[in-house]
C-alpha cells in the first residue's frame, strides 16, 4: 500500500535529507517549512526523480496557535489521507542565547522549538492514534545537560522531549509510536568550516537511521550512537569539573 510522510523543517539539513531518503523508498511526502520557494524546488525534484506525490504546505512555527496547527495538520491529512509517518526536524537557535542580558529572542525561540512543535505533534496524534504510524521528533544533544551557551535552546528542547515522551506514554496502548532522537553534530551549513569537538554526521546517514527505525517502539535514542556513552559522561560529570568546561 502506498505510504505518505509529513516532514516539518524540510527545507534544509536533516529535514531535506529525510525528504529525499523517504521519497527514495517510494513514499509520498508533504513538506513544510517557512521557505516555500525552496520546498517547491525540492518537491519538483522529488516528483521527477522518484515518481512520487510531493506536496508543499508552508508552515511558520513562530506564529502557530493550537487552532492554526490543527488546520495545518487537517490540511496535510486531507491532501494525503494515507499518511502514517511524521518527522519533525524544525528548530532555531539564536546567537545571543548565551546568558546575555537581552533575552528578546526567548519568546520566539520557545514558540518555535517547543510550543509550535507541540501543537503540531498533538494535532497529529489525534489523526494517527489508531494507525500503525510514527511521529519522530528530532531533539538535540544540547538537552543532555544544561550549559552556558544555547541556554534557552537546551531548555526548549528538553521541554519538547518531555512533551513527546509524555505523549508516548499516553498513547502506549495505541499502535502509534512516538520517537525522540537526540541528534549530534551534523554536516550542515551551521557546522561547515568549523572545528568541532566531535565528529559530524552526514544528514543522509542520520535520515537512513530514522527511516530504518520507524517501526520500532523506541523512546529516546542518540544518533549517531556514540553520543550515548558521551551523554553518560556529561550527565554524571561532577559539578566541580563540569563547571570548568567551556563548550
Amino acid at each position: 500500500m502506498k505510504q505518505a510522510a509529513i516532514i516539518i523543517g524540510a527545507s534544509s539539513g536533516l529535514g531535506r535529507a529525510l525528504a529525499e531518503a523517504i521519497a527514495r523508498t517510494g513514499t509520498d511526502v508533504i513538506m513544510s517549512a517557512r521557505a516555500e520557494q525552496e520546498l517547491q524546488i525540492l518537491a519538483t525534484h522529488l516528483r521527477i526523480r522518484y515518481q512520487i506525490q510531493a506536496e508543499v504546505i508552508p508552515l511558520d512555527l513562530a506564529t502557530l496557535t493550537t487552532a492554526t496547527a490543527k488546520n495545518y495538520v487537517d490540511q496535510c491529512f486531507e491532501k494525503m489521507p494515507h499518511c502514517s509517518q511524521v518527522y519533525i526536524t524544525a528548530g532555531i537557535i539564536d546567537e545571543l542565547d548565551k546568558g546575555t542580558e537581552a533575552v528578546d529572542y526567548l519568546p520566539k525561540l520557545m514558540q518555535v522549538n517547543c510550543m509550535g512543535i507541540s501543537y503540531v505533534m498533538n494535532a497529529c496524534c489525534q489523526w494517527l492514534q489508531n494507525r500503525s504510524a510514527n511521529i519522530t521528533l528530532i531533539s538535540s544533544i544540547a538537552a543532555i545537560r544544561p550549559r552556558g551557551s544555547n541556554i534557552a535552546y537546551s531548555a526548549s528542547k528538553i521541554a519538547l522531549e518531555y512533551m513527546a515522551l509524555g505523549l508516548r506514554h499516553h498513547f502506549a496502548q495505541s499502535p502509534l509510536r512516538i520517537q525522540v532522537y537526540r541528534a549530534g553534530y551534523m554536516e550542515t551549513a551551521l557546522s561547515t568550516g568549523k572545528k568541532l569537538l566531535f565528529p559530524v554526521a552526514k544528514p543522509e546517514r542520520v535520515a537512513r537511521v530514522l527511516i530504518k527505525n520507524r517501526h520500532k517502539d523506541t523512546g529516546l535514542i542518540y544518533v549517531p550512537v556514540f553520543w550515548l556513552p558521551l551523554s553518560w559522561v556529561l550527565q554524571y560529570l561532577p559539578w566541580f569539573i563540569f563547571k570548568k568546561l567551556k563548550f
Binding site: 524546488i41 551549513a189 568550516g193
Partner: protein
C-alpha cells in the same frame, strides 16, 4: 575560521574559509569582503575552487533536478548535482549525459567550469556542446540566465567559476536504446599503432581511449590497450547504488610509487586486463566511470600527491612531440604511473581544454624531479603548439598559459568586464594572472 583546502593532486594547500549555502536566499548573504569562489566536489587537480584568503562556497546543496523533458531529452539541474548520480537517473530513462568527467562525484557546475571532456570526446566534443543555458549568480546582478549566443555564456563554460556562481544549467542529453556497452580491448605493441587504431576507428565507436605504458623504452614505448566501446541496444535490470566519493580517504598512506613499483604496477594492470576477455559486455553504470572502485591508484601517491600533464598535439605534430617526450622520460629516468591517449576533435575555446588532435596524459609522483620533468614537457608543448589542461595542472603559470592559449587576453578581459569588482578569486586566478 581558517579552513585548509588541498588541491586533489595534493600539491597545493590554501588557507581560506568555507561556507555552505543551503537555500537560495543564502546567496545574497555571502561574505563579499574577500574573493569568493564556487566549490563542488573539490576534485580539480589544481586549487580551482579555493585560494588563500578566499571564501570557497560549497554548492553541493544545490543538487536538485528542476525540470526534465523526457521526450526531447532536455534536463535542467542545479549545479551541485554529481554527474554520476544524474547519469544513473538518466540511464533509467534511456538518456545519458553525452560528456562524462572522470569521476562520478564531480558536479555539473564543475563540468561547466572546466568545460570537461570524456571518453567520447571525438564524437560528442566537450561539455559546452551540450549546455543550452546557464543560470549564474553574481553579487551585482543577482541571478541571470545566459545562452550560448552570449559572451557571458562563452566565458562561463571553461571559466573556472570566475564569472559568477553557476546555480543551474539546462543540458541536452543523448538518447540510448539499452543500458549495456560492448568493450573491445585491443592490444597494441607501441604508441604509433595505438594512435593509428584510434584515428581510424574514432568514427565507429562511442567511446575510444587507450592505456599506454610509457615506462617501456625503445620501440615498445606506449605499448598498451586501446578500448573501443559502443552502446548496445540490449537491456538488463540495473539497480545502481549511490556513488560514494572515495577519493579523499586514507590521506596518510606513504608514497608507494617509485621507479620499481610504478613499472610493476603497469605490468600488473596489463596482466589483469589480459585475464579478461578481449570482447566483453558491461553495464553502462559500470562503464561510465572506469576509475570508480580503483581509487587505490590515487592513494598510493601518498600524502605528497602526484602531478598530471595532459596536452593536445595536432595530429600532424604528435609524432615529433611524443618522440621528444619519450627522450625526456628516458633521459630523466622518470617513472610514469599512468600513460593514456585519446583522440580529440573540435574547436579551441578560450583557455579550456579543447581542440583537435591527440590528447596525451601522463601521471607522475610529485617530487623535485617531476617539476623539472614538467618544465621539459612545457618546452615540448610550446614548441609543437600543444594545449594543456589547466584543470589537471597545479603549477602552470601565466607565461606558459599566455603562450599556449591565443585567446588568453581576450578571456581575461571578458572576465574583468563581467566581474569588474573582482568578487571572484581563487588560487588559479592568482597563479594565471587572470
Amino acid at each position: 575560521m581558517p579552513y585548509l583546502i588541498q588541491s586533489f593532486d595534493k600539491t597545493t594547500t590554501t588557507i581560506g574559509s568555507l561556507v555552505e549555502p543551503e537555500r537560495y536566499r543564502d546567496l545574497w548573504n555571502l561574505p563579499l569582503h574577500k574573493p569568493i569562489i564556487a566549490r563542488g566536489a573539490g576534485l580539480s587537480y589544481c586549487a580551482a575552487s579555493a585560494g588563500n584568503q578566499c571564501v570557497s562556497v560549497d554548492m553541493r546543496n544545490f543538487n536538485r533536478i528542476l525540470s526534465f523533458d523526457e521526450i526531447n531529452g532536455i534536463i535542467t539541474v542545479e549545479a551541485g548535482i554529481p554527474a554520476g548520480e544524474l547519469n544513473n537517473f538518466l540511464i533509467g530513462k534511456n538518456w545519458v549525459l553525452p560528456v562524462l568527467p572522470g569521476y562520478p562525484a564531480i558536479t555539473i557546475g564543475g563540468c561547466i567550469g572546466f568545460n570537461v571532456h570524456g571518453k567520447s570526446q571525438y564524437k560528442v566534443g566537450t561539455f559546452i556542446n551540450w549546455v543550452k543555458s546557464i543560470t549564474l549568480f553574481h553579487p551585482d546582478t543577482g541571478l541571470q540566465t545566459c545562452t550560448p549566443d552570449t559572451e557571458l555564456f562563452q566565458l562561463t563554460v571553461g571559466g573556472m567559476g570566475l564569472t559568477g556562481i553557476i546555480i543551474s544549467a539546462t543540458i541536452a542529453l543523448k538518447k540510448i536504446d539499452g543500458n549495456l556497452m560492448s568493450i573491445q580491448a585491443m592490444k597494441v605493441p607501441e604508441i604509433q599503432t595505438a594512435v593509428e587504431v584510434m584515428a581510424t576507428k574514432a568514427e565507429e565507436y562511442d567511446y575510444i581511449y587507450a592505456w599506454n605504458n610509457f615506462n617501456l623504452r625503445g620501440k615498445h614505448f606506449g605499448k598498451g590497450i586501446v578500448y573501443l566501446e559502443n552502446h548496445l541496444p540490449d537491456r538488463k535490470e540495473l539497480n545502481p547504488k549511490p556513488y560514494i566519493n572515495k577519493l579523499n580517504r586514507f590521506k596518510k598512506i606513504p608514497v608507494l610509487y617509485n621507479g620499481l613499483t610504478v613499472k610493476t604496477m603497469n605490468r600488473v594492470y596489463e596482466l589483469m586486463d589480459a585475464l579478461q576477455p578481449r570482447q566483453r559486455v558491461i553495464d553502462l553504470v559500470q562503464a561510465s566511470f572506469p576509475i570508480y572502485n580503483k581509487e587505490l591508484y590515487y592513494y598510493f601517491f601518498g600524502k605528497k600527491g602526484f602531478r598530471e600533464y595532459q596536452v593536445i598535439f595536432d595530429l600532424d605534430k604528435w609524432q615529433a612531440a611524443v618522440a621528444e617526450i619519450q627522450k625526456i622520460i628516458a633521459q630523466m629516468n622518470m617513472p610514469i604511473a599512468l600513460g593514456s591517449l585519446k583522440i580529440f576533435k573540435g574547436e579551441p575555446h578560450n583557455i579550456s581544454f579543447s581542440g583537435s588532435g591527440l590528447c596525451v596524459t601522463i601521471d607522475v609522483p610529485n617530487n623535485k624531479k617531476s617539476i623539472s620533468f614538467f618544465e621539459a614537457l612545457d618546452k615540448i608543448t610550446l614548441k609543437y603548439g600543444g594545449i594543456i589542461n589547466l584543470s589537471k595542472d597545479s603549477r602552470a603559470d601565466a607565461n606558459l598559459v599566455k603562450h599556449c592559449f591565443p585567446h588568453y587576453e581576450q578571456f581575461k578581459q571578458g572576465i574583468h568586464r563581467h566581474d569588474p569588482n573582482q568578487y571572484f578569486g581563487s588560487e588559479i586566478r592568482t597563479r594565471l594572472d587572470l
